[in-house]
């Protein structure tokens, strides 16, 4: 009774790309490209752009802050400019601080929702929406051309409301230059428990960060729902450090507090761009697996621009645009047809085997798994 689904990066030969990511629920864990923000969220709220002249339709795209405003690269500005040059339309970005929770709250309170589409959805957000709102928040998105190009395993919404546009794999990143240049990360989950690795791993809080939750889910996949708490007990005994979010733990990793951190398998893409020593950015897929983390987009129920929203989604899935999103968001593309330059394949690594849980498995279990973990791990 394996409660898991394997995602295989089917054929996608050219992987490339980069890890991307999404601001986790609280806005922090951000993108690899330039992770975003810190602990209790940040980003700001929406902002209007553009001058929608009379007659020019406007599409309000809500997303997480780093998607439009990361200090290095972020896909937002390029997408806006390119889309507007091809279509007679204006894109306005909205980036509420609490991300999707902002819209769930609005729906609960009966306040209007003035965004047309949301970009940056993950399965956790979807479960939260479905648990809290009887009517949901998004419409089914069926007739979008290019949707067939999306890799099969990435579709995480059984009801087809969400269209994936990129994906990342959670892996370990390690620093070979530790221990006088001899450091090698273990190859399995059990290896992490060896006393040689005491105090060597930095992870993130699964309740507030998407990398942290993915890593927890990966341990549940590896050790089973009945065994993961025992595994974590041993990890804790081996002095694993669980910090708040990706940003905090990656900062500590870069300061060489520890030789291993839970991060993205596209880590080298950014490291090579910024001229860093790749020996400090080695990738390890524990048990030869990486936890898959797709990001998707959907159309708000009450949008008055359904046609324009579909145009936008088709645009997002186009091979050239998929290639740009992958490069600018440092993530793998979601489609099999993305056009990517060769050097990306060199640095972006995909796991031999990708694992993830299905929507149904997570809906039934994820809160319980996470809370049981919190109660065992916190303040002990």
């Amino acid at each position: 009774m394996k409660r898991r689904t394997f995602l295989r990066t089917v054929g996608a030969g050219g992987v490339a790309g980069v890890a991307g990511c999404v601001g986790g629920g609280g806005g922090d864990d951000g993108s690899t490209a330039e992770p975003t923000t810190g602990g209790d969220g940040d980003s700001t709220d929406g902002t209007a752009t553009g001058t929608a002249g009379p007659g020019t339709p406007e599409l309000v795209v809500s997303t997480y802050g780093a998607f439009v405003d990361a200090p290095s690269t972020s896909p937002g500005p390029w997408l806006k400019e390119t889309f507007e040059s091809e279509f007679d339309a204006t894109i306005t970005f909205a980036t509420p601080d609490s991300e999707i929770n902002y819209y769930i709250e609005r729906a609960l309170q009966g306040a209007d929702i003035d965004a047309d589409v949301y970009v940056g959805l993950n399965v956790d957000m979807l479960i939260r929406i479905d648990e809290r709102l009887d009517d949901g928040l998004f419409t089914a998105v069926d007739d979008v051309s290019g949707r067939g190009d999306v890799k099969d395993g990435l579709n995480f919404d059984p009801e087809g409301r969400i269209v994936p546009y990129d994906t990342s794999y959670i892996s370990l990143v390690y620093n070979e230059t530790f221990d006088g240049g001899d450091f090698v990360a273990p190859e399995t989950f059990d290896g992490l428990l060896e006393s040689d690795y005491a105090g060597d791993l930095l992870a993130q809080n699964p309740a507030g960060s998407s990398t942290g939750k993915s890593f927890l889910l990966h341990t549940i996949d590896a050790k089973g729902p009945d065994g993961y708490l025992d595994y974590w007990e041993e990890l804790q005994a081996n002095d694993v450090r669980v910090l708040s979010d990706w940003s905090t733990s990656y900062t500590a990793y870069e300061n060489e507090e520890a030789p291993m951190v839970v991060s993205y398998s596209t880590d080298q893409v950014y490291a090579s761009q910024s001229g860093e020593d790749l020996a400090k950015h080695q990738i390890r897929f524990l048990n030869d697996q990486g936890y898959a983390y797709p990001e998707g987009m959907s159309i708000f129920e009450g949008t008055d621009e359904p046609e324009l929203a579909r145009d936008f989604f088709e645009f997002m899935l186009r091979p050239d645009v998929q290639g740009e999103i992958a490069q600018r968001n440092v993530a793998f593309p979601a489609t099999t047809t993305a056009e990517l330059p060769e050097e990306f394949a060199e640095y972006a690594q995909a796991p031999p085997e990708a694992v993830t849980f299905t929507y149904d498995e997570l809906r039934d279990n994820v809160s319980e798994w996470t809370q049981a973990w919190e109660r065992q791990f916190a303040s002990k």
């Binding site: 602990g39 980003s43 209007a48």
Partner: protein, 556 residues
Amino acid sequence: MLGAAATALVLVVVFYYPVATVFVDAVFVDGRPTVEPLVSVLTSRFYLVDIFGFTAYQALLSTVASVALGLPGAWILSRFEFRGRETLRSLTILPFVMPSIMVAIGFVATFGRNGTLNGVLGALGLPPVELLFTLEAIVIAHAFYNAPLVARVTTAAWESVDASAIETARSLGASPTWAFRDVVLPQLLPAVAVGATLTFVFTFASFPIVLALGGFQLATVEVFIYSRIQNLAYAEAAALAVVETAISLGLTYWYLRYEGSKRGSGQGARPQPRKSLWPGSWSAKATATRLAIAGYGLVVLAVFVGPIASMVLTSLTGPQGGLTLDHYLFLLERQQTGASYQVRPLPAIANSLRFGVGTLLVAVPMGVVMAVLTTRNFRGRAAIDALAMAPFAVSGIVVGLGLLRGLVFGAEAFGTRIQVTGAIAVVAAHAVGAYPFVTRNVAPLLGNLDPRLVESARSLGATRVRALVDIELPLVAAGVVAGAAFAFAISIGEFDSTVVLAEGSTSYTMPVAVERYLGRRLGPATAMGCVLLAVTSLSFVIIERFGGRYGGRGGF
């Protein structure tokens, strides 16, 4: 009376109503009253022992550390004269504006395995220390935030000790030690109690520091409230917040009663003369004192200057470790070419200053009104006082969420949705967070005034308001100015309610920009952090210098 009504109105709209919208989840589930969420928290061994127990334990240690680190500073600032003393005193307010994520970065760089501290220890041939991700790291970071507060409050009290009282004691045969114990100490204790109580309340609700420097092994109640809110589990979050608030408010109430019982009668105005830091003759005692001061200076360098210097250094360091101005160039470039939905540095500076001044204009009158009210004697005063101090005691996360649900989305009233957002809401929210500092600065001074002054003015025909403006306020001007500096600092450093209430690109502030620029590269965020540091240091020095003309000393 009008002032009190306006103050109450602001409090209800941007504090009590929003917070109530959150707390109500603890006692109403599906529209029905219930005690279930509260009972489940209060009967949970995990919450009571692990979470609340640990939270209180680290707050206690943090308080002890802050007082221990702050008191010598107060002694030096109030008893010695040296160049830059005034400026140093102004700068004790700086930790209030440092975004906690920045402090965390500075601490990692200073106290980490490869940090500055271990570099210095290594150069001295000493073994390295591993501080990060331990309780010690949390306690030191809390001391970074709160020791300056303790020092500030205590310095003010020490400076207002009347020299003639000590001289009288000495002339009656008391040794310097006895004079200190009988005359000075009783006047310092209430100030130390203020600092300690505030420190405990602040560190009890600590959140980002705990998570960043301690890790989840050392999680506090605030961490759990945040986690529950992120998962939209409001009943449990609200129940936790109710218990947390009850404890904080209880402490505040207890402290205010203590403060009330200690409130002295009128004081003279002649401060003790300060000694020179460089003694005329190096007697054994003078030398020992100076050695102690030098030792304290080293600790101050490590705890305060270290993290800030590390931040400045990071802002000037490239990926390969060489010096570079790239991160500042990024700020310039973002300023020139940033899209309208991206955060740019200059608008962030302008907004911060605008909100800071706005907060000053709102919080200072509010704080003074509260101070006047709380220095009157009436039944239940301590309770009113504690309620007025509630913004100290309520979790920032709860206030943020309440503002979002109560104000940003608005409430239905008379068939229309009433919403409050934008710059005015930001200023109001900042003012609510800031005015208790004004009150705490002004109330003790006001309480110490000789009531006969007001009585004389009144008997000569002045109205109560006129007596306040003409007689009392000028006498407590130092407290008002110090309170204003705090109000400004709180506004500049505020983050949570700013991001919730700010509308679009017109209202992000410097701390918001710092957070936005944070990423895999720390550089841009630290460069913006340095801008924040520069702008605010300058502002405080100006405020205090400007205020000095009227008050000179005192205040907190």
